[in-house]
Symmetry: C2
Subunit: 273 residues, 2 copies
């Protein structure tokens, strides 16, 4: 599907938004809306919202919170001028009691007055920075999904939310690792610096050739595996909490915000009254 929309990579953000909002584009957002912060989406009942915010605050590397709606308000007012979270994401996953029920392209019929929407930063931002520095990313060059693994590292729990941290792995040339660590640390809203470098067994990964999510990627020659906290972690925490209804983005199908990737804080200045 993305082939038909290759021009969107170079088009302006309002045109891309229009295509997503009207359902004409339901593909993934990798490489789209370049220069703007993209975000994972989690929508929960209001009575779980405080504990979920605590979970994000206590686990900022896997769950960097970049926006939260008012209860029942579908507009993400700090992330853009006109972001209606019910239609602004190309595809959504609907979970009931922690289990995936189906995927849809619009959730207007599911939104209700007791819902709260959360936007969490994603890895695209630091990947752009690494690529701009000329650091090779195998999964991007080969158009696959980055490999993701369960680890044995416990997140700090909050109410019903708990998880072992999920990480994404990128194998880098040894002479670029320090630079990749320093560069990604500059993006605390996009998982920040890696949580581990080197031996996968040290964080409980048994077989680096068999990811739990995404596609396998080789660790070639003298390349070093580098592990970043991953936005799948909150999905694992939500499975554990098993809320009656939870709506997320479909993996890879992100919310594209109006916030520049280089912004110091993920908040639009309030409009003059």
């Amino acid at each position: 599907m993305t082939t038909d929309f290759d021009h969107l990579r170079r088009t302006d953000l309002p045109a891309l938004r229009g295509a997503i909002r009207t359902g004409r584009y339901a593909g993934h957002t990798a490489g789209l809306g370049r220069g703007y912060l993209q975000a994972n989406l989690v929508i929960l009942p209001a009575d779980m919202a405080l504990d979920f915010m605590r979970f994000c605050q206590r686990n900022p590397k896997p769950c960097p919170l970049v926006g939260v709606s008012d209860t029942g308000d579908a507009m993400m007012r700090t992330l853009g001028r006109d972001i209606d979270i019910r239609s602004e994401v190309p595809a959504y996953n609907i979970y009931r009691h922690g289990r995936l029920e189906r995927s849809v392209t619009d959730i207007t019929d599911l939104w209700s007055d007791d819902m709260v929407a959360f936007a969490l930063g994603c890895s695209f931002t630091f990947e752009h920075a690494l690529m701009q520095a000329g650091i090779p990313l195998w999964h991007v060059e080969n158009d696959t999904t980055v490999p993701m693994f369960r680890t044995d590292r416990a997140c700090v729990p909050a109410g019903p939310f708990s998880a072992r941290m999920v990480v994404s792995m990128r194998a880098l040339p040894p002479d670029r690792v320090d630079e990749a660590v320093a560069l990604s640390r500059r993006y605390p809203l996009a998982h920040g610096a890696p949580v581990h470098v080197g031996d996968p067994a040290e964080i409980g990964i048994i077989d680096i050739t068999r990811p739990d999510w995404g596609d396998p990627a080789p660790v070639k020659g003298d390349h070093v595996p580098v592990y970043w906290a991953c936005g799948v972690t909150p999905q694992v925490a939500i499975e554990a909490a098993a809320p009656p209804l939870c709506i997320t983005h479909r993996p890879g199908h992100m919310l594209i915000t109006d916030i520049p990737e280089e912004a110091e804080v993920p908040v639009l200045a309030p409009q003059a009254a």
Copy 2:
């Protein structure tokens, strides 16, 4: 009072903690516990906690959230191994319906099962970084409180919480301003980069010689006034919200955490079970 405790500047953190916890030290914490993140404290009823967290998320420069307790749990578990928020702050202010009632050194008798404690980063962290770089800070050299001003810049509201941003002002030599901006931007949990440089009228400050809080400080010769978002802002928002009961630190009398100032995230790794 601090004179008797000058040795605490050089003592270890547990000894300082013990003196605070037992009420033997009730003074300010400037210059104490060097190297560790200090934090402002806000304690609110649980039914206002979600909106206050939203207010902090939407206004991260004045309100950098570094910790939040479970409802009714007085231990700040992510900020230290043994931080009981009822006694770990040298002095507290008690507000009823938005008005200061009194100051105390321990709030054990006021804590209840429906309270939530929030810790917010403070300016000491970036001031340490500026001083280590040799950037002169007049209020530190003259042992006064930094001047703080109401501005005309609206914060993003959340529920009952709203405020015009409060800023603190430090006048710097013109050739050090860029460096001060870059250095403080490295500390997003301590107000980050300045919100304004130069003309006070541009942010609604009428008379730079008459601060709304703190002590006046001169803008000497060719020095340039530089304005950072200030932790008094959430206090203004709390006055607006007028909760039946709110407990804060007494200004300058901060919570000293176990988190190193240079830590990437303000979360202790969970202890092994």
